[in-house]
Amino acid sequence: MKLAYYPGCVAQESGRELDQSTRWVAQRLGIELVEFPSFSCCGSGFVDEANSTLNVALNARNLALAEKAGLDLLTICSTCQGMLSLANHRLKDPAVRARVDPALAKIGVAYRGSVRVKHLLEVVTRDLGVDAIAKKVTRPLRGLKVGAFYGCHLLRPAGEVGGESGEEPRSFENLIAALGATPVLYRGRVMCCGFPILFVREGTANRIAATQIDDARAHGADALATPCPLCHISLDSFQNKAAKAVGHALDMPIFHLPQLIGLALGASPEELGLPRHLVATDAALAKIGQVSVPA
């Protein structure tokens, strides 16, 4: 399988462990990642708030690059997935086309609208299938209880991003089970991580993150896994602040989606960039009999 690889900004910067683990997993699963050094940022939802037409145009340009190469596009971030899908959806509106197409024409770009935007979670669970993944597992994550944390933009608005279900998805849980771990169902799995207002009202954002982590723990989770690096920032990089906001320790390891897959496929913690996390993953690794990461 060959896909246009859209890593997004965070995986190329503060979340490089996501890019690193994606490459490791893609290689093992036979997904060829075609690189496009000219992809721009998806706008992360913020550009859409400032100038929605510009946001669609930026993403139409990205989509056109993949289209020209005859490839569908692979995202590894719920927010990138949401923004690129939203552009695809909005470009069906002739009024949007009328504003965007002339600007694209000025840079010699035309986008027909043929590219499918797929998140790694979809590629793994739908295109490859969880049964095929289960067959590749060399180190089942037995004994580890994992809560999926989907990230809003992967799921909603369901009518626009075309996900599996806005509020009751199951693909991630099915994957967790295929990797040998036990999926944990909890309300917070489809809720917000707080990230969009981390810069607006940090205290509220921290409390929202803490609420989802507490909810997962109350349902027995040893760790969370997320297909969104922005959720990872809120849940991992700012977990110390979330703990402070609610006045108790959280100590919840947060895996990126490909890190969890990689662990089950036999990757070492270093190969997956686990030492880069702010919250130690040791306790979770110990559960699956994996040596802990040096601090």
């Binding site: 503060s14 940022c41 100038n51 145009a57 340009r61 840079i107 770009v109 909603r156």
Partner: protein, 323 residues
Amino acid sequence: MSGELISVPIDVYRFDPSHDSAPRYQRYTLELPRHTPVLSALLKIRTDLDPSLSLRYSCRSSICGSCAMVINSKSRLACQTPVGPEVERHGRIVIDPMRNLPVLRDLVVEMAPFWGRYRKLEPHLIPDPNRPMPVDRENPMTPAEVERFKTTPRCIACGSCYSACPAVEHDPEFPGPMALAKLYRFVVDPRDGARQDRLVRIQAEGLWLCLRCHLCTESCPKEVEPSERIRDLKEMAIAVQGGTEHGSRHAVGFKDNIRERGILNELKLVRQTYNPLEALAQLPQGLKIARKKPETLHAPRKIEGQAEVEALYVALDDSKETP
């Protein structure tokens, strides 16, 4: 289909503050056709099994908006939710009162906070002096003008979105999805004279606390799409006043940030959103993160084709019309 009955186990939240020390769930099991609305099931419980069950309802036709509740953890109308699919998916039906509102008894909640946050936004027409209200007849709009309302006139104020909203749950200053969708309706009303004032005020009164999680849009029984209208309000507010709050400074800053390299410069974004003192307060956390992720301290490389990105900004952002 037809009259075939299925067994429907229903766990209903019960709480009477005047008698009970804590809420509990009560199990009722009914034999019902699978298309029976949850509301009809609850009314059957009340008439046949337990007259003490309290709930609000009226029209039974998704018009009055009184029977909003949480059904298998989703906020929605009981009259619009058939029992069959719920039982097939979850094995049972768990019914809770709406979230984010105090419980008065069983499934009946106090709606005053919902209306209170709404009233603060002055949800009524403030006539435009340049388009005088006729005193002797109606003040009609053209069909094209009505189009501006988009989805908002469909709202029945049931409160499902308020119940589903994590910003409402965690921040008392957030007006709520329904209130903001209604505000949108007045902002675009051609007869309203307070458009600018409303957009300026709302920036400071909670607009930027929306998490754009879209749970409101998902829960809305009338497809009002509140999160989309909140997004529209944000863009209009920036167009009239620019970045006055952290939220709008962040959105505008992010947009300008991407222009330079085509990819986000994470460190610079902090300075674009916060004033120097606020940025300084972020330093300890920033250093904590940078110790594990040192590349956060460096600007990323420009993307190839940044000139194309620049050209899109020139075409669509430099001479942006007010939406």
